[in-house]
Symmetry: D2
Subunit: 363 residues, 4 copies
Amino acid sequence: MSSPKLKVAIAGLGRMGSRHALHFHQLTPRAELIAVSSPDPKEIAWAARNLEGVRTYLDYDEMLKAEKDLQAVVVSSATVVHAEQAIKAINLGLHVLCEKPLSTSPEVSQTVVTAYRQSIKKHPSQKVICGFSRRFDASYRDAYSKVKSGMIGRPSVFRSQTCDKLDPSGFFVQYAQFSGGIFVDCSIHDIDLALWFFGEDSIVKSVTAVGITAVSPELRQYNDRDNAVGIVEFYGGKIAQLFCSRMMAAGQEDTTEVTGTEGKLSINAQPQSNLVNIYDSTGIRREIPPHYYGRFRDAFITEANEFTACCLDNTEVPFRLEGAVTAVKVGAALQESLITGKKIEFDEIGRRIQEEQAPKAKL
Amino acid sequence: MSSPKLKVAIAGLGRMGSRHALHFHQLTPRAELIAVSSPDPKEIAWAARNLEGVRTYLDYDEMLKAEKDLQAVVVSSATVVHAEQAIKAINLGLHVLCEKPLSTSPEVSQTVVTAYRQSIKKHPSQKVICGFSRRFDASYRDAYSKVKSGMIGRPSVFRSQTCDKLDPSGFFVQYAQFSGGIFVDCSIHDIDLALWFFGEDSIVKSVTAVGITAVSPELRQYNDRDNAVGIVEFYGGKIAQLFCSRMMAAGQEDTTEVTGTEGKLSINAQPQSNLVNIYDSTGIRREIPPHYYGRFRDAFITEANEFTACCLDNTEVPFRLEGAVTAVKVGAALQESLITGKKIEFDEIGRRIQEEQAPKAKL
Amino acid sequence: MSSPKLKVAIAGLGRMGSRHALHFHQLTPRAELIAVSSPDPKEIAWAARNLEGVRTYLDYDEMLKAEKDLQAVVVSSATVVHAEQAIKAINLGLHVLCEKPLSTSPEVSQTVVTAYRQSIKKHPSQKVICGFSRRFDASYRDAYSKVKSGMIGRPSVFRSQTCDKLDPSGFFVQYAQFSGGIFVDCSIHDIDLALWFFGEDSIVKSVTAVGITAVSPELRQYNDRDNAVGIVEFYGGKIAQLFCSRMMAAGQEDTTEVTGTEGKLSINAQPQSNLVNIYDSTGIRREIPPHYYGRFRDAFITEANEFTACCLDNTEVPFRLEGAVTAVKVGAALQESLITGKKIEFDEIGRRIQEEQAPKAKL
Amino acid sequence: MSSPKLKVAIAGLGRMGSRHALHFHQLTPRAELIAVSSPDPKEIAWAARNLEGVRTYLDYDEMLKAEKDLQAVVVSSATVVHAEQAIKAINLGLHVLCEKPLSTSPEVSQTVVTAYRQSIKKHPSQKVICGFSRRFDASYRDAYSKVKSGMIGRPSVFRSQTCDKLDPSGFFVQYAQFSGGIFVDCSIHDIDLALWFFGEDSIVKSVTAVGITAVSPELRQYNDRDNAVGIVEFYGGKIAQLFCSRMMAAGQEDTTEVTGTEGKLSINAQPQSNLVNIYDSTGIRREIPPHYYGRFRDAFITEANEFTACCLDNTEVPFRLEGAVTAVKVGAALQESLITGKKIEFDEIGRRIQEEQAPKAKL
């Protein structure tokens, strides 16, 4: 195709960054991946082998400086630098697709939105989105359009879980130091979905959470748990029930149900890798994807293509960046509740209601 | 309950006979099991232990003679004596529930019908039915009523399979000597279902079958196979596709599909033992019943109760005995086709169309 | 069968009482239903028509007095008289199967246990159980035995829901006046299951609940809701997530999942009426039972038969009566949390931990 | 990517051709679509709008002549010119991906193979494959690798169906004039799958088929049917059961089952559009793809990418062209049997066994 392509760079080449790189390099016809950055020489070596013709940088700032033609940046580095890198790109007027979460802190997340609000005054066609991949998933989209059509009446009860396969390598324990906790890392997707299905303007009334360490007691040193359940109550008569886990035996189980006054939709209530069923002496079974990427690969590719189209054609982004701050805020509050054991309440304009005598000792 | 109960005897206490005995003894409130017969002393000993208060006989004729109050007989002996025992009871004016098949021979099967047609002149409220248990199954009945309601338009293509779990004990090989072959033993249920769903007055136009011995080559000495597929063509634009097997790994797989001009129904397309799903490192699975009884237990109990009610209340039997002869006729023709490799055709009044020069050698 | 049968009376002939009556009358071979009582003349008239040979009473006490041979009573009257009627029968040394809940009040429920503890000293073979029907369900039992076998490791996270079909008649609103609330009426089953799967000796650490009135705001006058979610936290690292609803569109959805450290079991995650699937222009669908009885009929019949056997043979009851008090206690606490919005905590010996400064106004 | 791309042309821009064009234009990074041809000006106009930078031709020969840099041709024109166009490209030494079937005639299909066998002597790295899209489907591939691994023992009974949604527009009737009949058009995929799963060297022993016109009696004028079932028997104890239909109510139902001596695999036994389930007053349902493209889109894209890689890297093609001739041969024999009502037999080297006295009248 001879049309101009969107010149894209990727920051970070870890688990997700390397996938983004391949998606933009090979599976996004309207994009041209021109550069990648990573502080890790091994990741740079991987890029040299796998991303033919793409320039590599050990330093993100240097990449931004050197790549004069750059139009868009995908931030998929460590969460701790998401906001900083996103803001640098935003301030240059570049389009940004920033991996979730913007930050594990609601306040820091807000700085990304603030930067974007400033920058867009100068660059009115600038696009910045947070990578809530499920928003690009065909099944979630189908469910959303059915809800919008009124098929289930008024959506009222939402249940969603993000449950990872047990990883005996200790990965999740290491990761817990920086992840913001299981509610910020896993459930942020479910929170974002709740906001999507209930309406972005939904106001959280309270959150409560409880958790355990069933397989990884080491998580406690990082104020984290390996299984947790939570309730998010919204003003206007809507409730969300959440479950996150690092302990699934069969594989990734990311299931959502939306119950309305006239019907219900489930998404992935019966996880499966593909359309094969196996009949053997143990019964009839299907395999399920071991990781989130097995479930959401197509969504990530759609994300890459739609982000690209959005930037090139100056069309509206599929969802607003502000939601990413709300999601972090809710996730962080759930994580706090998980650790303190306290229910946290908010007023109708989103301000936290202080408990009169919060028992400090437990915090 | 103080109402008079139907006095019932069971002939034969093998695999199915012993179950019938327990059903009539314990799970059929309006019936009273008063006697059982079996030529096998071990089975009689079983009866003594398990059928409290029930008289036992080593000889069927003796039982008929001694039990003056007897009102109904359930014939569940070896297939080879089904017809003879049924006819004896019929001639005494007793109600009869005869296990399928009436006989492996269509001609002998017909003698049962003939005896009944004679006897009913003298005993106008006499009931004789063949034990097509699936006719009493809640799922098949639901499907049938949906078809009758017009939900799928005109039923046109029928697919059904009766597939047993692999039994490495050699049971099926021994059994093949007397079973009439896999199409008479297994597929007779599917043939009966086809007649039910297409209409009892459906006329078979042709049958063809092909089979293999994948696990039990010894079956060939009895002109049988362990896996076979067949096609039954009906006049009026209806076709049935059959599969029978002795080799299933997971358990009993008895599945039926009825495709109509405006919809389709499947029955047991996803076999299951119960509502439990197991998630482990191999995926998500459900267990399935190992044998037909696990799938059809409730149907057998319904059969016992409805047969009893029918006899006591002199209400119409749920299906006519003549169909049992047609089913054997079709099953035997399929079995012949399986062995000869020849398609067998019938004219519109059910007479076999002779091939002009049937290659005798192959028969 | 000539063995002596258990002489049973039923108290209450409402929705569930009439079913118990039929189960004991027709489907429990070792029981003989001899009497029923109901203050409602219409129910007595129903009994006269449907329970041939069974004596009827408008007054429960009179029945107890008159039926000298009575051995067992099934209490299935209005919840408000469960405890009183059960205790009267207990004090007479009769076996009792009391419908759930013993009472909507934990304290009153405890009086039943206390009465039984007293009575059993004089009547050591007396049996008293609470009618937790799911304990008799084949799928739950299969799941339980799999958990016991260690199949899923240590059960850690439990999710269960009891969700009724939307009933536009207003039944649930009327019913709410006496039901104890949705957590006591519906979720009591799920709580009992949690205690079963986690172990009867599990100690509740906290409960929290949130609810809405999505379709029946009138419920608020009775301090009830039509949809609610709750969390029950147990000492020892176990959590239960509950959902109850009166608003399901498709039918009864009673689903349970038990996640362990090495696997997971789901029970009824894909509700279905039977094994039929319907293919039409809207897709492929299965129907689901409209009410709990469609799902649990077999369990109720098993309950009747096993209770009978237990009484006749003086064998151990399948679960202890004390659990019924714990279940009510947890259900009532969840209901309180639902209304007050407060998390309720318990110490390790089950005593409620008082909040230091509970904001009285909200209670 | 700066590596040289495979220069591809598409012949035919109908239903499938236009999709191939888009797949190669946008979703095959290593290919460059440089030209398309179609005798239909409307299709050429479509190409001008949708295939930016791609040259268009009303004449296939002219395209071949003009496009000097062309390396590969995708033949997706009307079936009647498949072979001719494929051979022209083959004779120029071009790589060819020819849509199925090569021809509706086994003899004509063979000419393509013969041309390739000749040409490859001069162009040893030339690739020619037939577009059996299911060979590229992730689920079929997973099933195949499981069979290869021995998971189900020796595959013995194969059941497969290609069932199209009812199309009331009359499309299928028009199409029947040139399609070669339902067994050549639809079942050819199932036949190819049987050959794949049983082994490409499997020898057909006999075919039999029966069919009806349940909704489109007009098909009879073209010797076609709207529903048909067939049996393909292979030497060595293997059988395939086929069903093809133009009458499905719910959508495309392409289901396959492979039963082996130690297990079974099903592929798409429960068709679905995506992972959404809808709960409403009619039950629980999932939607299913209306057409084959909804089911196999990803497989077509994989096909485009793998064909491209194969040509560029001179790696082995995933399956041999000869199988496409066998598939047409079997499909055409089934279609003949469907019309004549005769079973057709073959000897062990694939030659048809003549019936001694074929009743000419019926042919």
